[in-house]
Symmetry: C2
Subunit: 200 residues, 2 copies
DNA sequence: GTCTATACGCGGATAGAC
DNA sequence: GTCTATCCGCGTATAGAC
């Protein structure tokens, strides 16, 4: 063949990366195949060689994106559970994340489209989230709390993105950060956002 | 004229109601003008008479829908604040709401599209939410908590809708209900979902 | 105010050259 | 494996009849 053995694999990976970014920024359904492929320097034919149809491509893309999202909540070298959570919240619920959907988590960017997608895509979505909850569970956050954390993060970021004013965006994000910190430290509500304070 | 004086007003209202339901179910951008109008028994020309363009129609629709959403959180006759919150949570975070987007709240159904809409639409969205938070604030829920409640409700419902399994959907919704009850009653975390228990 | 007819572009998808 | 060319349907929007 005219192409190196792993050329297909590399191209496929690049397609998922680049089209994923474009989909998170502009939406998947509203972006044509031509544009999705052009973002990776290819033409529409490439999509049908690799995935067969646009909706099959969507499923592969969701699987790939949620794999990336899972890593956002994974602990890094030498972190305690509390440190990981504090870092995750600060990164996730930030204005930077609100303003850069293309490099951010797929949950707030694509859940709306997934909700209207075929059962196969929704199954992929559910399994990925269950894995994420399982992972958090192993690290000391009970499943019920883990679901609540994910829902809160996704909701707050999506709401912030749909607004038109950074000050209000930050108000929403700060409220969620504060709320989650209190919840995860098992402390009762406090009137203002508390400083970093590891539990005694 | 051939039509009664308030015919235009009534038609406009019907358009917003019926197209709003269809948009929440199938998405706004992905539903053509013909279909949106056909749902109200009209043809595409009607949209341009009333609103001028599809995007102008979207803004009117969002304004109308968020007015409806605000009422979901409004207290009813003879309710206390705690009763209202308990009723709101049970109704909002339910499988019925997850399965019937067309008659439900616009926030989980349309926030993704709003996030990619023109600034004018996003301004409408922000103002409506600020009013909602102001309303909750008057009823005893501080603004920061109100933002967290709305984000959590929207995130949990959207996540539930994007899944393919009712058992897991219910797990997500129950986790959020439980979390919000604990937060609103200023109680520390409990291992399982607590029963209705007004604060002492 | 609403409908029908129509203009024109972009959508997804396929065929065949290389 | 990728590109170019092409088919056909649906998208938004407008013009003119009633």
């Amino acid at each position: 063949m005219r192409y190196s053995p792993d050329h297909k694999e590399k191209t496929r990976h690049k397609l998922l990366e680049v089209s994923g970014a474009l989909s998170k920024k502009q939406g998947f359904a509203t972006t044509g195949v031509d544009r999705l492929m052009a973002a990776a320097g290819l033409t529409s034919g490439a999509l049908y060689s690799h995935f067969g149809s646009k909706s099959a491509f969507f499923q592969a893309l969701i699987r790939h994106e949620l794999e990336r999202s899972r890593k956002l909540f994974q602990p890094q070298e030498g972190e305690t559970g509390a440190q990981r959570m504090e870092r995750s919240l600060a990164d996730y619920l930030s204005l930077a994340h609100a303003h850069n959907a293309e490099s951010g988590c797929a949950l707030p960017a694509l859940s709306g489209e997934i909700a209207r997608a075929e059962p196969e895509v929704r199954r992929t979505y559910r399994c990925a989230l269950q894995e994420m909850v399982g992972m958090l569970s192993e690290q000391g956050t009970p499943p019920a709390e883990a679901w609540a954390v994910i829902a809160q993060c996704m909701g707050a970021l999506l709401m912030a993105r749909a607004m038109d004013d950074d000050a209000v965006r930050e108000e929403v994000l700060a409220a969620s950060r504060d709320q989650l910190r209190r919840m995860l430290s098992d402390e009762p509500a406090a009137p203002t956002e508390s400083k970093k304070k590891p539990r005694p």
